[in-house]
């Protein structure tokens, strides 16, 4: 029992050190602030949007920014761009965060099993991982999305499943290394049940690289979701979505260039903030990694 308390204390200390390293970097803090802002916008979209995001207004089609009370202008159906941006943050965050969570939650136990038991379980799992990784991430996601049909739910499913093999690889490799360490061998000798060794002892020790990978997977997934929408395989109109807005904008670049700028700025700033935060997290949790 006392060993666990010592380990807990050690972990608490490591956490405090990591938090200090993270907050010492102004750019990571800026990234975190940006992420919080996007989350707040998504939650408050109902209240802060000046107009209905899906209501067409044919009297004010393609109004430039600032005209007629539309701060960022209107699109080809006269819908307010700012309101659509606010509401679009919802599909973006849902796709980015849920898909990453889905992929990670499915992959971690599989990676644990492969890395801990080795043998035929590892052979089968690793072979399947290899097969999926024979396709580039985006090609695999596009294929899945095309099979499942276009909807937000299927975007989450496609991008989530596409992430599973990569996470399995990371977890498996980490567990592989941990399994040989004395603390695991000691638990085995003590007769600790295998499940407890895997989830109570090994899992906490492989969590850092998983958290780092996850935090950097969110921005990649957000861009992936935008690409699927842009290709017509994701969120369908009239739902406000940044990728769909850019796809529509392509036809009006000559008359209404702002339509092609604002949604992209939103995607770019969101992914940049997630990346800044994820980078800081990596340096904080894993100071040895480049």
């Amino acid at each position: 029992m006392s060993a666990v308390t010592v380990a807990d204390a050690g972990r608490a200390l490591a956490r405090r050190k990591a938090r200090r390293r993270l907050t010492a970097r102004p750019l990571s803090v800026l990234g975190l602030v940006g992420v919080v802002v996007v989350v707040l916008v998504a939650i408050l979209a109902n209240w802060i949007s000046p107009h209905d995001p899906t209501l067409p207004n044919f009297d004010q089609v393609l109004a430039p920014p600032g005209a007629g009370g539309h701060l960022l202008g209107t699109d080809e159906l006269g819908r307010d761009v700012l309101s659509r941006l606010f509401y679009g943050s919802r599909t973006t965050l849902i796709a980015g965060v849920l898909a990453t969570l889905l992929g990670t939650l499915v992959a971690v136990p599989i990676g644990l099993v492969a890395g801990y038991f080795r043998g035929w379980a590892d052979v089968v799992i690793s072979r399947l991982v290899d097969v999926v990784l024979a396709f580039p991430f985006l090609v695999f996601a596009v294929g899945l999305a095309a099979i499942l049909g276009p909807s937000l739910q299927n975007v989450v499913l496609a991008l989530g499943v596409a992430q599973i093999p990569g996470v399995i690889r990371v977890v498996r490799a980490e567990v592989f290394a941990q399994r040989e360490l004395e603390y695991v061998q000691a638990e085995v000798v003590n007769g600790t049940p295998t499940r407890a060794i895997m989830f109570r002892h090994i899992l906490p020790n492989v969590l850092n690289p998983v958290v780092v990978q996850t935090s950097l997977a969110v921005p990649a997934t957000i861009v992936g979701a935008a690409i699927l929408s842009f290709l017509g395989l994701g969120v369908q109109p009239p739902t406000a979505d940044w990728g769909t807005m850019l796809a529509d904008a392509e036809n009006y670049l000559g008359q209404a260039p702002w339509l092609g700028v604002f949604p992209g700025v939103a995607i770019f700033l969101t992914t940049l903030c997630f990346n800044l935060f994820g980078d800081g997290l990596r340096d904080a949790l894993d100071p040895t990694a480049g």
Partner: protein, 318 residues
């Protein structure tokens, strides 16, 4: 070493074989089929049946798969029901376009990424490093397709210096070809430039702390020679491997970039055949992609093992 190479090549072949099954089944899991896409409005079952029969899509899946695989091994990917052309001739036609785009994109990545990485590595934590690292993060965060739209807006719609989209073959008109390829290559190269920059930076920083760089300095070499001839040259091995590992990102980028700029390469072919449910073309192009991807990963893997004997031992013991 020979055993390791044989083992890796063998498992790559098994991976490809399994991948071909995944491709075959996944494509048949797409909602709708080639006949429905071809016959458009006419939903006459007789027409659908005739089309399916003509291309063998009405046969049971297992013989269909083995016939496809048997022909694919000899380079025959069947005939597209949409264009009526043989798939291999379409692939051979589009492959050089995509290759050109990829090579130009990698060139952009190297030309931006390596100097930026070296400059950042000279004073880690300095102003130049902060600018470089933030720039790299921006390059990683910017979505390809939006960056393409921005360039079209700026250079084609506004300044009117480059064509917005389309493609001109290199043979009769090399200048027109380059004009059309410039923006796509820059877009494709940006994200990879960021990765190259980061890897160059961390490798050069490590090298700068090593004994041989101290020796080179002690010899009185100029800073340019120390970095260029010693630190950078030794860092390039890892940089090259990292570029190899970026192939997946490159292929993903090609799909969106070709779509945005209307370039008739393999990426656009993939999307078009998804939309048209063109089974033979889709099977061919995805199998070709997987083949290229698996071979590159294999080469990167083996290069690593040759360069780092510790990996060799670990891999051989498996």
């Amino acid at each position: 070493m020979t055993r390791l190479v044989l083992y890796r090549v063998g498992s790559a072949l098994i991976t490809l074989l399994l991948a071909s099954i995944v491709i075959f089944l996944a494509i048949r899991a797409l909602p709708g089929g080639p006949a429905e896409a071809l016959s458009a409005e006419s939903n006459d079952p007789a027409v659908l049946q005739a089309i399916n029969h003509k291309y063998g899509f009405d046969q049971p899946l297992v013989p269909q798969y083995f016939r496809w695989l048997g022909q694919a091994v000899t380079g025959n990917f069947g005939t597209s029901p949409n264009s009526g052309l043989s798939v291999s001739s379409t692939l051979l036609n589009d492959l050089p376009v995509t290759m050109e785009l990829a090579v130009l994109g990698l060139l952009v990545a190297v030309v931006i990424g390596i100097p930026a990485g070296v400059l950042s590595a000279r004073k880690p934590g300095g102003t130049l490093d902060s600018v470089g690292s933030t720039g790299a993060l921006a390059g990683l965060s910017i979505p390809h397709f939006w960056f393409g739209i921005l360039l079209i807006l700026g250079l084609s719609v506004w300044l009117k210096v480059l064509p917005a989209a389309g493609f001109v073959p290199i043979v009769p008109d090399p200048i027109g070809n380059l004009e059309h390829m410039l923006m796509p290559a820059v877009v494709l190269g940006t994200g990879i430039a960021a990765v190259v920059m980061r890897q160059t930076r961390s490798s050069v920083i490590t090298a700068m702390a090593s004994d041989y760089v101290r020796t080179a300095r002690a010899k009185g070499l100029s800073e340019f020679d120390v970095i260029g001839r010693h630190a950078l040259r030794n860092s390039l091995i890892t940089v090259v491997t990292v570029i190899g590992l970026q192939l997946g990102a490159l292929i993903g980028g090609v799909v969106t970039v070709e779509q945005v700029f209307g370039i008739p390469g393999l990426g656009k072919l993939t999307l078009d055949s998804v939309y048209n449910r063109d089974y033979p073309t889709l099977q061919g192009v995805v199998l070709l992609t997987a083949l290229g991807y698996v071979i590159t990963n294999l080469l990167v893997d083996l290069t690593y093992s040759v360069l780092n004997p510790r990996i060799r031992v670990a891999g051989g013991a498996r």
